[in-house]
Symmetry: C2
Subunit: 691 residues, 2 copies
């Protein structure tokens, strides 16, 4: 089969994927939406969520248009005329890049919007189904999650394949990826700020000050809290993997295009074929995710992931052996896939209550919250070690195995291993998006006064979601690491293709300066998003207190609180807080590049990758660890709920909230966006820079 | 004056410095040691401290002898015969390197021991002097601090100058530096674990559980807590700057020796001349540290630093202009000096209660300890930014200004700027060591029941000490950054001098792998030392509770608690916890080098520098910020002592304790030791490595 035909297979797989997603959406909507009370609660959440998304997409649309305009302008100049005569770049394609940029942003937005829409429909239906059986509730939640997973990979592959079919120009796919990632970053960071603002404010006034339970409808922030779970965890979270998915494919395509001695473009198209096979494997794997009568939902989700991975591995092996591809490409794919799964399960060690880190943290909580925090933070630091070793091994193996093949370059191997990891994102995202849906189902069951038995079932579903989430996080961070390493390599290739003699030696002071500046960027970005959370939560706490004070009927249960004010506060606060982080992601790399030159910018990207990965692992794992240490104590150990140890663990959990849901997961996307913008503007920077 | 004569000036300045230190020691001992009660309290602390130091130095002596033996063995082979024939190294000097290694370790130990000894004599005398006047108490404490500062720089300069006079071989000074730094690292980390174990345990049982004040003699851990202030903050802290002081000088000497086209060794000796001038400037500057009748001790300390810096700058300018040195060397010195002072005062912004970070953190404390911690942590992350920019500017300026001179290399400029910063360490350490002495004086005043007025005076002295400490920390971290960059350069020079073609490009996967492995090392090291604190504190809390339970007479004030058990627990725990961190510092770089080769080891050093500096800044500044946010609330704002905000701020302060006093300050020394061991073993690694 010629490589061109494979592109049609990709488009076909993408269309099937989107079609299945739409069918499942339709199926979910057909399910019983429950009692009048439950419908009302669900309506509040749905309206809050869509009002936020409208505001978000309006702002982001504006940002996208401005960026597209700049891109169109910059890339319309013939740089060869203006800059150094030695440097030649493609010019005059400004409009085309701008259009693909907008196209990427729209695909990312549609996938997120679809995921959100189905999530807010699914949560109430999953809760209602839980009145009948665990199995039925699980199906509703998981299929709803699959809508997000399948729509995402489908749209991504359709977008990339059609662009390549139409133009054959990898740089245009880069524009697509940049659009998708920029939108994803803002959706992720904004959603992360929104969700934790509402969560912390609702908990601190509701649970701590007033003493009403979680998800109590008397709490004015309870709707904002539930909206937050959707905009932060569903719409935002999917973006986390989506942007790595597209970016890794683009990086591999560009590295493939840079391979010497190619008779055809088979290695350029190879990453897209991997994506297509990953979609097919995911579509099959999803069928196997079923919970028996007394089955365990967590096991079902993990089985789905493993089955998908195995089917995918078999298909890639067949492709390489019978398609006449070099075996190095197969090794790189398998290295990525295996490493991704292993690292995923490793992070489970640090965040699951079956192992020492969580248990030890829970145990020392009896000595106060400070000791809980120091211990959890320290284990978070240690959790960096196995993941980094995994990333190092994957990098070295994929590089040298691919290089040893003779026809392929080592960096192409790194790119392929990232794609190999991310190709099964359809399944991974489905399992991940399931989590916040059942979390919300539990909230709705509580708010609409369902039976205790239903809430217990929802708890079982929720706990499975947490495990799936922990595994996905380890997976997505390691995938992002390989992706940005591949992007880093294609940045270097792009700079050199202009004729600039790139020097990234750590002995050059300008490279060292770049690395230091890059190294401080992820910490700065994290700090800004976390300060946004505490700042906005502080405002919302005042608003909740005001409502309780001015309307005593709320606490008595005679009067409905004003949910909308809190929803609006969270939305406004989140959007306003995005300005500076957005500048850091897009503007800072360009500033470094134009001021200090391509060598410094290369160092900058390297530095941001190193501290970015370290910080992302620390924050995600420490956050998950604190969360589960609290739940472990709530399960009755070390004094159980209400004990001093429990109070200490609640503080740790609250510290971990913005770690794991705001700052931590945005860092991946941050470093991806910085790498993409640098690679896209590389030819311009090579032509114009101050030093 | 010939360069040889300057070495004698160095030795002379060193001897004068040590002599003045001994005189001041004698002067301090002559002061009134106070009432019988105060003498008794001081005796407990002195005995606890010397029992810990004896144990520490016994263990460290053993470690030093083993390492010396290995060094003697390894460097006695003629590597040219065994390894690749292309690689030539100096061989047969094993014994000489081993002896200088032991010499360095002894100098470091003597300086620390002297500092400790005078500190435990001075605290009670400063408290007693505070009964008469603030001025007199300040003098006792500051002169005692100067004993440490002057002894340290004196011994260092004597050691380095005599080795160079006797042998003319920079590699032997490297051995001296490695010995000094290894001892410093273990003293620092051990002291940091000791002091926070005792501090946290004493506070959690005493202040939180039982409700007795800080420094109450009924608390069985109170002596261990006060001993900890001495072994952690005095003996350990001085080591922090001492090892940078020696290491920066060695790095500059080695880079000077690698300069091409030298008629004499003037640029090899230049760093030692800078040290000698720095000592002279410090000796003069110390005279100006005086508090008038109603003067402020903080102002007096800062004045001393500024006057010393100005005198030093004038002397260096004269030296370069009239000594026929290249002006590039002057610029590099001044760049280092100015940057050090600026960064020092910048960190004051993040940790002083006159500015937004501390005030904002104090303000949000009303919403609970989690919000306090998230806010403080975020500002800690932001505090990285100005310091990193300062380091970057200093690196680039010193490199390019020195390179532009024509005769000097750029990396020599970086080395000189580090020495330029650290040459006035005599004054800096004096001001820093003053802090824990007055802190202890306050404790003794409380424990021996002195007047309220005396305790208030001690508080004023203590607060000045905290500001001095914050400035010193910023100073020492930025100095360490330049030092390790210079060491990094001399590692590269050493590897290349063996004929190995070093490649440190970030495009090489083995370098990337090294950087990732290096990047995870400071987090791992920090986690191990902090877990040691919580682990040991947990044991000590049990012991304190046991004593209160079994001897009710203690709380009634009728029976003395058993102080010694707590002192012993803290000491044993700290020493046992050092094994793994010590392996990481010395063994891990060698492991990476011998397994993955010189390129990976270069990456490893780079990675450890990048995350090490970022983490050290975060931990030191966040810790100081939480401490002062608590004190700000205690001064009566946002509810004052006993309020909910205060309780929240106490949790933040406790989290910050191991950040700023255990993990944070050890990281500098960790990366210095790793750079030194790599440079020392560089010729061997170049000859033997697996990949």
């Amino acid at each position: 089969m010629s490589y061109q035909n494979w592109l049609f297979v990709g488009v076909g797989a993408g269309l099937v994927s989107v079609a299945v997603a739409l069918y499942l959406f339709y199926w979910v909507k057909k399910q019983n939406a429950g009692s009048e009370r439950a419908r009302e609660v669900a309506r509040w959440i749905r309206e809050g969520a869509s009002s936020y998304l409208k505001k978000l997409y309006t702002s982001l649309g504006l940002v996208a248009v401005i960026l597209a305009f700049i891109i169109a302008l910059v890339f319309s100049f013939n740089l060869g005329d203006l800059g150094s005569s030695q440097i030649t770049v493609n010019s005059g394609e400004g409009l085309r890049v701008a259009i693909t940029f907008i196209f990427g942003a729209i695909c990312s937005a549609v996938a997120g919007y679809l995921g959100m829409s189905v999530a807010v429909e699914a949560n109430v239906r999953s809760a209602t189904a839980a009145e009948k059986s665990l199995n039925q509730a699980f199906r509703v939640a998981f299929y709803a999650g699959s809508v997000m997973g399948l729509a995402m990979v489908g749209l991504a592959v359709i977008g990339m394949s059609t662009i390549y079919l139409a133009t054959g120009d990898p740089e245009l796919i880069l524009g697509f990826s940049f659009g998708a990632s920029t939108l994803a970053l803002l959706a992720k960071a904004g959603g992360g700020i929104y969700t934790k603002t509402a969560d912390i404010a609702a908990d601190l006034v509701g649970k701590v000050e007033i003493g009403i339970p979680e998800d109590d409808p008397r709490n004015p922030a309870v709707v904002a809290d539930n909206v937050g779970d959707n905009v932060g965890d569903v719409a935002g979270m999917g973006a986390d993997i989506f942007d790595s998915y597209v970016a890794s494919t683009v990086a591999a395509i560009m590295l493939g295009a840079a391979l010497p001695n190619q008779s055809d473009s088979r290695y350029v198209v190879f990453p897209l074929i991997l994506c297509a096979l990953g979609i097919i494997a995911s579509l099959i794997g999803i069928q196997f995710v079923r919970v028996g009568k007394n089955g365990k939902p967590g096991v079902a989700l993990n089985n789905g992931t493993v089955i998908t991975a195995v089917i995918y591995a078999l298909m890639v092996t067949a492709l390489v052996l019978f398609g006449g591809y070099d075996k190095g490409a197969l090794w790189a794919t398998l290295v990525g896939l295996v490493t991704g799964v292993i690292i995923g399960f490793t992070s489970d060690y640090f965040t699951s209550d079956n192992h020492k880190p969580v248990q030890e943290t829970a145990k020392v909580s009896g000595s106060g919250s400070a000791i809980n925090i120091i211990t959890g933070y320290s284990y978070g630091l240690i959790s960096i070690v196995p993941c980094v070793i995994g990333i190092v091994v994957a990098t070295l193996l994929s590089y040298y195995l691919c290089q040893a093949s003779g026809t392929l370059s080592g960096v192409y191997g790194i790119g392929i291993s990232a794609v190999g990891m991310l190709a099964i994102s359809g399944m991974i995202v489905s399992a991940d998006a399931y989590g916040p849906i059942v979390d919300n189902a539990r909230g709705i069951a509580e708010m609409s006064g369902m039976d205790h038995e239903v809430i217990e079932r929802a708890d079982v579903l929720d706990s499975a979601g947490n495990t799936a989430k922990a595994i996905t996080k380890g997976f997505s961070i390691s995938a992002a690491a390989l992706t940005v390493l591949a992007l880093f390599a294609s940045y270097a290739e792009t700079i050199e293709s202009t004729g600039f003699a790139l020097n990234l030696s750590l002995r050059d002071p300008i490279v060292i300066a770049g690395v230091f500046l890059g190294a401080m960027t992820p910490p700065l970005f994290s700090a800004l998003t976390m300060l946004a959370v505490t700042h906005n939560a502080f405002d919302m706490i005042e608003e909740i207190r005001r409502q309780f004070r001015e309307k005593p009927g709320i606490l008595a249960g005679k009067e409905l609180p004003d949910y909308n004010t809190c929803v609006g506060l969270a939305a406004q606060g989140a959007l306003k807080s995005l300005v500076l982080p957005a500048f850091i992601a897009v503007g800072l790399p360009l500033l470094v590049g134009f001021l200090l030159g391509p060598n410094a910018l290369g160092g900058f990207l390297g530095g941001s990758i190193f501290t970015g990965i370290v910080l992302a692992l620390l924050m995600s794992n420490a956050g998950g660890l604190w969360d589960n240490a609290k739940k472990y104590i709530e399960s009755g150990t070390f004094g159980g709920p209400g004990s001093e140890a429990h109070k200490a663990a609640v503080v740790g959990d609250t510290v971990g909230d913005p770690f794991k849901d705001t700052a931590g997961p945005s860092i991946n996307t941050l470093i991806t966006v910085m790498s993409l913008v640098s690679t896209l503007f590389a030819p311009v920077i090579a032509a114009f820079h101050l030093f």
